[in-house]
């Protein structure tokens, strides 16, 4: 019988790092602000906590992978993030790596 805690631990290890890739890919598709990005991630089954996502967006911005503009159309101004050219290049690289992993997994025989 598989322990739920054990499964959760391995899932967490597997998903670590996927959040930044997902953010870069989603923001390349469509620039967005933090809260909407949280809903989009959740909709894809990649639910992320707000206290993880907002600092992550800031870090990716500092690394030059994201850019942002202030959206002042609403009563409250919001930061709208978009993936930079460097960010898009990184998404391409990581996507290739991911596909390599998927191919490798598919080539492994199922027990």
């Amino acid at each position: 019988m598989l322990e739920p805690d054990l499964v959760a631990q391995h899932r967490q290890e597997l998903r670590r790092g996927t959040t930044s890739l997902a953010c870069l890919a989603l923001l390349a598709q469509q620039p967005d602000y933090g809260y909407n990005l949280l809903s989009r991630l959740a909709g894809l089954g990649l639910a992320t906590e707000a206290n993880t996502l907002y600092p992550l967006l800031r870090r990716l911005d500092k690394q030059g992978l994201l850019t942002f503009e202030w959206d002042t159309s609403d009563a409250r101004p919001r930061k709208v993030y978009a993936t930079s050219a460097d960010g898009i290049a990184l998404v391409d690289l990581l996507r290739t790596d991911w596909n390599l992993l998927t191919d490798a997994l598919n080539r492994m025989e199922k027990p």
Binding site: Y33, G34, Y35, E49, A50, N51, T52, Y54, P55, R58, R59, R76, R78, K79
Partner: protein, 323 residues
């Protein structure tokens, strides 16, 4: 001040001054968006309850501030932990035995009472140990935060660092040396009593050690030495160290040092009558018999400490399956 503003203030005070404005506006956006979304989803819930819920989900402000500032949430991370542990353990092994010997000597030279010396030794050794761990840890915590890597503080590990003999064997030379020391000491103890090298005016022999000690302490010491000899030979026959050997070594050494310490403390290890007879120490020297006795005790205690340390180290190299 609203609850949200209090939360934001709690986070921003913990991030570097240059980032405060940005982090505050980030958080204000995150929290108000989350509150609005939940209010839309559950219009019957009071706004204050929603605010509390959202802030609880954001979690400990200091944790969030550390995530923003990219500060580690640990004192010493996995990159430096082993270097920290090795240095701490090494320093404790080197420094504490020295302190544990120096404090009693200093106490004795000051003429402190026996109880006071024991208290000072225990208290002083603990204090030095706590200081040592504290300062080493502080240095490593600073290194951790200044971006120093393990490669900067030590050589990278390679197979050359493996121990040559993982299982401690028992060299025949060690056993013969230890056995010879025991036998010579035992023969000396008996010889100095049976064939005293001086006698008083009445022709009675005057042994070097106080003859009254034969009522209990010296026979006990000989018994401890006999047990030690049996353990030595048993170990040689077995051919390897065990964990039990280490404990027996500790017990035997503590017993020997204690048996020697009692007469030293009572100023009656050496036969005072003999020294009065031969007229030493005389006016030409400042050495006292007490000092000679204490020096003997210190030498024996140091040898015992070295013996204990090497026994524990050898026993630790024993693989569990054979221990």
């Amino acid at each position: 001040m609203t609850l949200t503003e209090r939360y934001i203030a709690a986070v921003t005070t913990k991030v570097p001054a240059g980032q405060r404005e940005e982090v505050a506006s980030d958080l204000r956006e995150a929290i108000t968006d989350a509150i609005d979304a939940r209010l839309d989803a559950q219009p019957t819930t009071p706004a204050s309850a929603i605010e509390r819920e959202v802030l609880n989900d954001m979690g400990d402000p200091e944790h969030l501030a550390a995530t923003y500032a990219e500060r580690p949430l640990f004192l010493i991370g996995p990159a430096l932990f082993l270097q920290w542990k090795r240095l701490t353990v090494l320093l404790l092994w080197i420094v504490l035995p020295i302190i544990a010997v120096l404090i009693p000597i200093a106490g004795y030279l000051d003429g402190d009472s026996w109880g006071a010396v024991v208290g000072q030794t225990i208290g002083g050794t603990i204090t030095v140990g706590v200081h040592l761990v504290f300062w080493v840890t502080l240095v490593f915590a600073v290194l951790e935060r200044s971006g120093v890597t393990a490669r900067d503080v030590s050589e990278p590990w390679s197979v050359d660092s493996l121990k040559e003999t993982p299982d401690a064997t028992v060299p025949v030379g060690d056993t013969i040396g230890a056995a010879a020391t025991l036998v010579v000491t035992a023969v000396f103890l008996i010889w100095q009593q049976v064939y005293p090298w001086a006698s008083n005016s009445a022709g009675e022999g005057l042994p070097l050690l106080n003859p009254e000690l034969w009522t209990l302490l010296l026979p006990a010491l000989l018994a401890v030495m006999a047990v030690e000899l049996v353990v030595l030979i048993a170990r040689q026959v077995r051919g390897s160290w065990t964990r039990a050997d280490a404990w027996v070594t500790v017990a035997l050494n503590v017993a020997s040092v204690t048996l020697l310490a009692i007469p030293v403390w009572q100023h009656q290890l050496l036969n005072r009558e003999l020294f009065t007879e031969i007229g030493w120490p005389d006016a030409a020297t400042t050495v006292t018999l007490d000092q000679v006795e204490w020096l003997t005790l210190v030498v024996v205690a140091v040898i015992a400490a070295v013996d204990i340390v090497s026994a524990v180290r050898r026993a630790r190299r024993v693989t569990p399956s054979r221990g």
